[in-house]
Symmetry: C2
Subunit: 361 residues, 2 copies
Amino acid sequence: MSTVQVDTPGGSYPIHIAAGRLDSLAQSIPADATAIALVTNPTVYGHYGERATKALAQTGKRVLRIELPDGEAHKDWPTLNLVFDALLQNRLDRKAVIVALGGGVVGDMGGFAAACYMRGIRFVQVPTTLLAQVDSSVGGKTGINHPLGKNMIGAFYQPISVEIDTDVLATLPAREIAAGLAEVIKYGLIIDAEFFAWCEQHVEALRALDPQAITYAIQRSCELKAYVVSQDERESGLRAILNFGHTFGHAIEAGLGYGQWLHGEAVGCGMVQAAELSALTLGLPPASVARVRALTAAIGCPIQPPDLGTPRWIELMQVDKKTEGGQLRFVLLPEIGQARFEAAPLEALRRVLDQAAVAQV
Amino acid sequence: MSTVQVDTPGGSYPIHIAAGRLDSLAQSIPADATAIALVTNPTVYGHYGERATKALAQTGKRVLRIELPDGEAHKDWPTLNLVFDALLQNRLDRKAVIVALGGGVVGDMGGFAAACYMRGIRFVQVPTTLLAQVDSSVGGKTGINHPLGKNMIGAFYQPISVEIDTDVLATLPAREIAAGLAEVIKYGLIIDAEFFAWCEQHVEALRALDPQAITYAIQRSCELKAYVVSQDERESGLRAILNFGHTFGHAIEAGLGYGQWLHGEAVGCGMVQAAELSALTLGLPPASVARVRALTAAIGCPIQPPDLGTPRWIELMQVDKKTEGGQLRFVLLPEIGQARFEAAPLEALRRVLDQAAVAQV
Ligand SMILES: NC(=O)c1ccc[n+]([C@@H]2O[C@H](COP(=O)([O-])OP(=O)(O)OC[C@H]3O[C@@H](n4cnc5c(N)ncnc54)[C@H](O)[C@@H]3O)[C@@H](O)[C@H]2O)c1
Ligand SMILES: NC(=O)c1ccc[n+]([C@@H]2O[C@H](COP(=O)([O-])OP(=O)(O)OC[C@H]3O[C@@H](n4cnc5c(N)ncnc54)[C@H](O)[C@@H]3O)[C@@H](O)[C@H]2O)c1
Ligand SMILES: [Zn+2]
Ligand SMILES: [Zn+2]
């Protein structure tokens, strides 16, 4: 088993990564827990619910199952309220523990429910998608969507541990794997050029979920994210670099309508665009842009942005929460393995966006 | 102006107390704030909205007015969502500041909205009821109600400052003053016998809102609450003593239906019951119980508990979140000025509750 330690002002906790970790979930439950609420969805429960329940039951504690409807469309208040309803109807108290078993949607909602229930109870992340394992379960961002914006309502709230079972990736659709790998290579791009090169060399093994390769990729991703988050839990500075590719990516998601492209797919494509913008503004070498494009394609993500039209692109990027006081800022790369968060000249941005439209024709 | 400093792991901030403080609100807004959202209700806005807006406008920043319907019945998710709607429709960013102008309802909701909006923006408490000035605005508890329980959804989230204008109490109904004074004498009972005696001596001045007396009472209450909260921000130990009288009080509020008695009235009566229970379990002298009863009556709170019937009382107290693992625990006084949080024998509790029913007949 690999362990990555996360240290933030809001809490310190381990990430355990191992094949078969699901069967050891009892180890993550504190002795004084009065009950366990397993927050999940029917898809994930169908695959892994019984195993997780059996493992948690080894604690001798009551395990309450709370199934939320599957999908980003349900990452909203009414669905979150189902968790509160169940917790209150079953009289779970402040010493109960939430276990969030699922992808990023379940993790974000389970974590936010834990943050708010009785002003905060403990929770364990058990991420079951690659994206959740390398990204959303680490760092304490939790929340739900609002009709006027994604992830607009939430909390910084750290779990007491993250339990990653690499075996569960076997049932994940290939597109979800590609989407998760986009976040993996993102870490290399913003902070670890060596890891990016390692990903280039192991891309086939990663796509095939080779146990050794995927375990290392998850571990290294968690280490890098944990490092960034420990420097800046509340995203006042450094943490913003984790949003590399995301301002473009969010515009794609919103512009096409959520659910058309997976988040990771949009981020993959967005990273290519951000690399192009980096070339224009910070002099990222064309060969590096080509490497970003090639690896993004190799992991199975689209690299051709949708033709939303430049004005709409800009409008969509302006509602993204990374605009402060109205100015458009991006995470940009002076070279692979280094990132800066700064305002980009509108002219350069237009060139990247216009290019996209041209390429499509 | 008096200043009380609050230091918690979640943040350090000043409480400013002064007649006319409303006109100096601009001082509480950080220079880098991008906008100000004034969260209030029509009643409070009618009295003080223009003055507050004018004061805030001195910053030169945009002031967005968000009026929530008045009353505890609206301390719920749909109403909280009105805040998110307004913040998003007006594109307020992460550097916006919420100013909560009103009683405990507005303060709890404005604070919780600040805690959740984009995972946390800054907020200023401007409490306008006595209860809010001496209690709810200090300590960082924020939240809303759920149909199955009061304050069940919320966050510990500290304001950047609390601005108390003692003048605004002039428009508060007498019942609200009595309710606020219940929380004032609570601090004396649990932690400062001398302050309790001071309240006995100044009860008429307090009820008449004598400026010197009320300012001192607010300041001392804030100091005492700040002391407790600084020891235990997240209510894992000491902070529980602030709930003296509240387990009974919450049962009264829930048993009669919320809104029949004011929270502070129910707490006042509940403190008398808790004193009686303290006499039976910890040997609080009968003379001390008599002092609690006399001062509670003198501030204008009811001292005769409603006859809910003992089984219903117990049932209501069991859903209170101070039950952990099912056992009923109370804040009890071995003597005036000292408090302990401990389980009470059911038999003693029954005697207190049966007594109440008898007295009523
Ligand atoms: N908190 C953060 O820091 C953070 C970071 C990135 C993304 N996110 C959020 O994460 C969400 C996206 O997460 P996601 O990509 O995991 O999507 P998801 O949670 O919707 O999961 C994708 C699909 O895979 C299914 N699934 C999950 N595990 C499976 C398994 N092992 N086998 C088969 N199917 C499985 C899910 O039921 C779902 O249908 C978004 O809401 C995004 O905002 C949060
Ligand atoms: N956060 C905490 O630590 C904490 C502590 C105690 C109570 N509370 C919460 O506080 C709430 C009760 O607060 P409250 O007693 O202030 O009730 P409230 O906020 O409902 O105010 C009482 C009434 O007085 C009106 N009002 C407010 N200021 C006024 C003024 N200056 N002049 C005239 N009218 C005015 C209000 O509009 C309302 O109608 C409850 O929801 C309770 O749960 C929170
Ligand atoms: Zn992402
Ligand atoms: Zn109270």
